[in-house]
């Protein structure tokens, strides 16, 4: 049987980087094929070639036996290849429905929009990804990252995913609830015989959903195997070339004095009520869990003064601090790694070195002048610690792979050496190997006496990392779980509690 997609000897170079080198890949009709590999291994590069964004420097592609040479995304879409890219590509000022149906807006005579059909189609798509209550006419700006990701997915589900559906890290920003919903859709499409390519750093997802998995390393194919014939540890070994030692849970240092405390904090969009009270001590890693939209991001932003002066009180080292803006927060030794790296974390067109030093300029300046060498040194140092794959400190952040961009954002805050560091989804899109390194690093930071406050949608991550987990549900604290009591069931139960009306558990 001719494979649905077949790549032969594909090569792609960027200045100073060989992104793909002699890639041979066959995707069978109807299979769900996973691509795995470290950050920068070349997964998204394969996808960008399929999507017609880039053209290969070498090799050929075939779709259902026919030569496939897309010159633009238009060609790819015409050929029936639908892609959910790793980074969001939405139109903020347009409505949800318009974004969902943008590839082909329903029209009536004379190019008029068919708004009724648009609403209907959009509703149906929103339904499928669990956003049934979102109005199709709402503009996309103002939606959370997770909701945007779901909209991207729903977009691709139109016409049932075309001939080949490609999903590049679709779950990176989703909590288990949304991910579950997505997996149901994938199963349904599989049952219909749709061919899919699935990229993820979550090995469990790969084993649960995919028939076969191809591992890339440094732009080359390492192996292609049926998932039934391999195992997560083997896969990890193929990806990073060594086994990952089973890690003991990160343990912070001796818990010290109260570093950060908030009282009656009422973040933006918070429900009426007394507000939130909690504290983080030096040497401690405190997690915040919750469903998408629970308001975790808003808690961190409020403390940081990102949306103006917080409503409520913030204490540093037991003393009340007036925070009117992020500058006040950083002056008080508080840092925030934001959730949306593209819009809020990075200056994409500027170099990785510049991005690394952005929150700690005094460390790389002398008398108002930049010390370019110190800046580059910092970038190289953290690239080493975080295993960031970049062609050099001068490479613009926008040219890095998604996971490596995330590492640069992390490097920025590590370099800033804030005493209190808040991290919103710190390992979004980071590969398993690097994740372990990062956990160890965060552990060392805590052991070194920093106070860390971590928001994550990956419960295993929080469970692995934290000393305590606060659970947010609908903007209110549903409870606090100590390390001894950590379990996914317990935490999820609390996370859902706010949505169950009076019968909160």
């Amino acid at each position: 049987m001719t494979p649905m997609l077949s790549l032969r000897g594909i090569g792609k170079r960027f200045p100073g980087v060989v992104a793909l080198d002699g890639v041979d890949l066959d995707i069978a009709q109807g299979e769900t094929h996973a691509l795995a590999g470290e950050n920068g291994a070349g997964k998204s590069s394969v996808i960008r070639l399929l999507a017609g964004i880039h053209r290969p420097d070498a090799g050929t592609m075939a779709l259902a036996g026919e030569p496939y040479t897309p010159a633009s995304p238009t060609d790819a879409i015409r050929a029936g290849i639908r892609v959910v890219h790793q980074e969001l590509n939405l139109l903020p000022a347009l409505s949800v429905a318009e974004n969902l149906l943008f590839e082909r807006l329903p029209r009536r005579a004379l190019g008029f929009l068919d708004r009724r059909r648009m609403d209907e189609e959009a509703r149906a798509l929103l339904d499928r990804v669990g956003l049934a209550d979102l109005s199709p006419r709402a503009p996309v700006e103002g939606l959370g990252v997770a909701q945007c990701q779901l909209i991207e997915i729903a977009k691709a589900l139109r016409s049932d995913g075309g001939r080949v559906l490609v999903l590049d890290e679709p779950t990176a920003t989703l909590t288990p609830r949304e991910s579950g919903r997505l997996f149901e859709q994938i199963e349904a499409l599989k049952a219909r015989g749709l061919t899919m390519i699935y990229v993820s750093h979550h090995l469990a997802e790969i084993f649960a959903l995919c028939n076969r998995v191809t591992v890339l390393r440094n732009g080359r194919i390492v192996s292609t195997e049926r998932t039934a014939d391999t195992s997560p540890p083997e896969l990890v070994r193929a990806m990073i070339g060594r086994s990952l030692a089973t890690q003991a849970p990160v343990s912070g240092g001796p818990v010290g004095a109260e570093a950060l405390a908030v009282r009656r904090l009422r973040p933006k969009g918070a429900p009426p009520g007394p507000g939130l009270d909690f504290a983080v001590r030096y040497g401690e890693i405190v997690g915040i869990a919750g469903l998408v939209g629970a308001g975790r991001t808003e808690v961190l932003r409020a403390i940081y003064g990102a949306d103006g002066p917080p409503r409520g009180e913030v204490f540093r080292d037991g003393k009340a601090v007036a925070i009117r803006s992020p500058r006040d927060a950083t002056a008080a030794g508080i840092g925030l790694l934001t959730e949306d790296r593209k819009a809020e974390g990075l200056v994409l067109s500027m170099s990785s070195a510049i991005n690394t030093s952005l929150a700690a300029l005094p460390r790389v300046t002398r008398a108002g002048f930049m010390r370019a060498d110190a800046e580059r040194a910092a970038c190289v140092r953290y690239a080493g610690e975080l295993a960031t794959r970049l062609s050099g400190p001068g490479q613009p952040a926008g040219q890095l792979s998604g996971g490596n961009q995330q590492k640069v954002v992390l490097a920025k805050w590590l370099f800033a050496e804030a005493r209190v560091l808040m991290l919103d989804e710190p390992t979004r899109g980071i590969d398993v190997g690097a994740k372990a390194e990062i956990y160890a690093l965060l552990g060392r930071l805590a052991a070194g006496g920093r106070a860390l406050l971590v928001v994550s949608s990956e419960l295993p991550e929080l469970i692995h990392l934290c000393d305590r987990i606060l659970v947010l549900s609908r903007g209110r604290f549903a409870g606090e779980v100590a390390r001894a009591d950590f379990s996914e069931e317990r935490i999820l139960g609390l996370a859902y509690s706010g949505y169950m009306g009076e019968t909160a558990s």
């Binding site: 995304p73 015409r78 139109l91 903020p92 190019g111 929009l113 109005s135 709402a138 939209g293 949505y499």
Partner: protein, 333 residues
């Protein structure tokens, strides 16, 4: 549970009202201005004066309508004033062709004006989209080319003495309102429908928002860009006709600096200079603010230089006021 996204309904309602408020913001500035002049200049509210203001803003309104298309798609058109002069002198030349019967000559003249405007606009769009160069520079070049051409074809002379039937339109009224203003309003309404209700309109906003995303969705922004600039050009062609019928002359140096006025109306109206956000309702309000300001200060008897100073201050004040409105609606939302 299962109520997936439980509290979206609320913010949505907020957002709707925010949109209304958005246009209202600059409207409040306008109301304040009108109220002030009503008190300070007794004749300001009179019917004739209202009608005068509408006549005075007509050309800027038409140009600003077209400019809104160029700005929304992420560009700008600096050539509108110069192209308008070219349209006017070409139309004027055609209309004065003795060989043709009057009606035909006038019809052809109007068509020529539209044709020149559309061609210049499409060329602006083509060059900037095809080579991916900033429309700021392309239209700056076009400004010089069009002005030079207008001067060259007329040899710097004023064309005058047009058919009376044609000139009559310029001062005609309907329901007590200047016909030319009604035309401008109709054009604006048409533009509004196009921008908000058609695929083309959505495409303009989309490209202004994130051109890359549009490309990834399988569209070719090129066509839409050329078309959007052609629309700007068409409006310029119409404005030129309105100019000629109103002032019954066509000369190659008319319209100098009109681009700035048109851009100002668009930006005061809340459209973002970087594209993708804004509306023609805002543009209408912006154009009226500029018009009212010019008129009211003269009625008050403010001297020229002071008038210029106050005009500058009020323009700044209007957008500052508007920012408070935005902040207010944000804190509500």
């Amino acid at each position: 549970m299962s109520a997936a996204t439980p509290d979206t309904a609320l913010p949505l309602r907020f957002r709707r009202s925010r949109l209304l408020l958005r246009d209202a913001g600059i409207g409040v500035a306008l109301l304040a201005l009108v109220a002030f002049f009503a008190l300070a200049a007794p004749d300001f509210l009179s019917g004739t004066n209202m009608s005068n203001i509408l006549t005075q803003i007509t050309i800027n309104l038409i140009l600003a309508t077209g400019m809104t298309f160029a700005i929304l798609i992420g560009g700008i058109d600096l050539s509108v004033g110069a192209v308008m002069a070219l349209c006017a002198v070409v139309a004027g030349t055609v209309m004065k062709l003795d060989a043709l019967p009057e009606v035909v000559a006038v019809g052809l003249g109007i068509a020529a004006s539209l044709g020149v405007g559309i061609a210049a606009g499409a060329l602006n769009g083509f060059v900037s989209a095809f080579w991916g160069v900033p429309s700021f520079i392309v239209t700056l070049g076009m400004l010089n080319v069009a002005r030079g051409l207008a001067l060259e074809v007329t040899n710097a002379r004023t064309i005058y003495d047009f058919p009376d039937s044609f000139i009559a339109f310029g001062t005609a009224s309907l329901f007590g309102l200047p016909v030319m203003f009604l035309l401008a309003l109709a054009l604006l309404a048409l533009g509004w429908v196009v921008l908000t209700r058609t695929v083309f309109g959505r495409m303009i906003y989309a490209i202004g928002n994130n051109e890359e995303a549009v490309r990834l969705s399988g569209h070719r922004p090129f066509d839409t860009k050329v078309l959007a600039f052609a629309v700007t050009g068409a409006c310029v062609g119409i404005a030129a006709i309105v100019y000629v019928t109103r002032l019954s002359i066509a000369n190659p140096i008319l319209g100098v600096g009109f681009e700035l006025n048109a851009i100002a109306a668009v930006i005061i109206g809340g459209t973002s200079l970087s594209g993708g956000r804004g509306s023609l309702v805002g543009t209408l309000l912006g154009a009226i603010i500029i018009g009212v300001l010019g008129n009211g200060l003269i009625l008050m008897g403010v001297t020229d230089f002071i008038r210029q100073i106050i005009t500058g201050l009020v323009i700044i004040l209007a957008v500052v006021l508007d920012s408070y409105r935005a902040r207010l609606s944000r804190s509500l939302g």
